[in-house]
Subunit: 457 residues, 2 copies
Amino acid sequence: MLTPTLNVLKETLKRLLYKGNYKALERILQKTHKGDLVAIFRYLSHQERVKIFQILMNIDIEKASDLLYDLDEDIQIEILRALPVKEALRVLITFSTGEISKIIDKLPVELQNAILEKLAEEEKEELQKFMSYGEDSIAPLISEEYIAVEEEKTVEEVLNIIRSAPEDIEIIYIYVVDKKDRLIGVASIKEILTAPPNAQMKDIMNTDVISIRSDAKKNEAIDIFQRYDLLIIPVVDENDELIGVIYIDDILDAVTEKTTEDFFKMAGAQEEELFYTNQILKTAKLRLPWLLVVVFGEIISAFIISVFDFTIRQFLPIIFFLPLVAAVSGMISSQSAIITARGLTTGKITEYFKDFLHFLIREVKVAILIAFVVSFIVGLISSVWISTHIIGIVIGTALFLNIVIAAFVGGLLPYISLKLHRDPTIATGPITLTLNDILGILIYLGTATLFLEYLRI
Amino acid sequence: MLTPTLNVLKETLKRLLYKGNYKALERILQKTHKGDLVAIFRYLSHQERVKIFQILMNIDIEKASDLLYDLDEDIQIEILRALPVKEALRVLITFSTGEISKIIDKLPVELQNAILEKLAEEEKEELQKFMSYGEDSIAPLISEEYIAVEEEKTVEEVLNIIRSAPEDIEIIYIYVVDKKDRLIGVASIKEILTAPPNAQMKDIMNTDVISIRSDAKKNEAIDIFQRYDLLIIPVVDENDELIGVIYIDDILDAVTEKTTEDFFKMAGAQEEELFYTNQILKTAKLRLPWLLVVVFGEIISAFIISVFDFTIRQFLPIIFFLPLVAAVSGMISSQSAIITARGLTTGKITEYFKDFLHFLIREVKVAILIAFVVSFIVGLISSVWISTHIIGIVIGTALFLNIVIAAFVGGLLPYISLKLHRDPTIATGPITLTLNDILGILIYLGTATLFLEYLRI
């Protein structure tokens, strides 16, 4: 939700818009930080967004471009679709090829063609390449705001280049390339300042430069930023040519976006929900599909229980512990699933099967240990309660099997998701939950049926 | 897990250590990036870690300090506890007061006293203040690596200060303070380079500087970094005095750490698990407490079912749908809980009761809509299956009530956690799950009992 200050600002913008007081509106837009506008835009109507965005474009195209870049993707697309093609093109052309690659599919065909026409042959190729990388790729994060100089340039020349660089470039590192544009070194601004004015870049540059390939995934980029404490990483293509940089603040955005997405995935919900706070119907629609998966999965559970009708009639107390078995094995399963998914996502577990297997075996071993303790406790309590010793053995055995199998399934599914090129986190959600209930009920009632003749008192 | 390359490196380090070939060991340590050492340290034994760390301290104290700073907290403490007090002090003194505040409690008393002795009066006060801020505070992220100059300094003087600054300071912004050390402006390196050499800082500085208070929480810092696209934020105390800066790369670390923690909290597990991959017993011990909460909670569920013994005997099919009711309302509840917790964590929902209430009402409205659809489908299926129309009405009604209450409870608990100064995410885990099962079973079987006379065929 908006802070009180931003809320006042939002109301003021709306009031001025309806009054048609554009002068005052322009003044406020100019003064307000783009970051605050991003927040406010979430709470405007479609018409308001488009209108205010157009006003901003007319007074400060650069700020409008920055704003558009940072808006939530659905709002971004919504505005681009509403603008006249010429206007949309004027602001889109300030985007990097990577950013365009992320949204071009969702734009009207007319605008798509206009963009392609504007691009040089080389950029068109790059765009095609980026679009083939998939949604976890770093392509949309690649910025063209960096300074690269040839190795022969002197410190003095480089300082002059820095002085005349566009305003939005953060001057922290200067990249050094050879004649073929291949990245061969880097120098910090401090190294340049302390070097003699006539020294050449090749003499002062650091040749041990950490870069990332343009077809890398976001997780790899996060990993490199964290491991090497960098603020900017240069991006190279398959020929080692420098094609852009990634700024860490864009990575930070990507990380929090991904986290929220992951959390919602676990609950069978979607991130958009936080933006549609007043749209009950839309939100319900977003959540229903996963719920229906659970509903139909649990109808199977119901059917399985009905099959064991005879067992239950013979010894009703067996049903008392059904929710316990489901909850405990459900929790064990989601522990394994979450830990494995998180390990795979953060790279703490690599994709190598041997590495994963090592981890899965660990999970199962832990589950066996836990199963001993939990089965013993529950077995003991149920024996004392129901006054039949055999029920403790039945419930204990069933629970033991359930826990071990749940850990195995929970650990396995994220890996399978990954190998099917899906996000491992998806396997921590509703499907795992339901699958586990079905399996658990089957094992539990099956075990009880096997022991049935001893159960009747 | 380690990548193959790092694994080879780890094995080499171990081999050289056992052979006593310290010369070669030192050479490798010098060449290896600190970030890679952080990863390798996770997979060394206690003795190996301490020994290798001491060797690194002897050849490069600065790198040793950087490494220590980046190690996982438990390994950090483990090494500091194993070092002789004098050695530990030598490396600890390179830490910022904020970082010391995070770990000092966990160090041996002897070392704590030695640290306090080394600190100046002012730093001691700061340390005490930082320690009172709690674990979500930004204090441990505050770095002392920045350049601040007085407003009268000329561009030429500042350039000289930059040239002689320590190596680990990233020169991006130069902060400007008044005589009382209060932050009054900032200038980018580019602004300094383009200004005439004899211009004073007060003439070229930007007075509109975004800063953060030292008692702020990590989430506020993340929010400011994201909103204003910054790489560094200056930190001021209650008198507006500049006391440090926060680098965005430390924020990125904090974000991923927090995310992993949150995921594990949801599963009733703990982050440390990813580091103890071979310690089955330790891992099992970490997971057991939450499982036992579920076990004892579900014993209550079992007891409730046993109370409805009569109802179940009269009409057994009622029990077929128990897992469905539990799973659906469990999922609705965790959707509400996760979305609310995430909203509160990312600040999309503020802590104001009115704001939260607005959100909670939205959740309940969505739940009512979903409840209609799901109850109708399940009621229909059960009616057709069991061939009694009344069962559809009973299950439908019970499910409807369950879903709405589950959404309310799920949305409420994260807010209560927050108001009790706990992490809202904790309310997305095992407790909510169990509470929901108990509540759900009670409502479901209670409704069935009310309708019992119509149910018997």
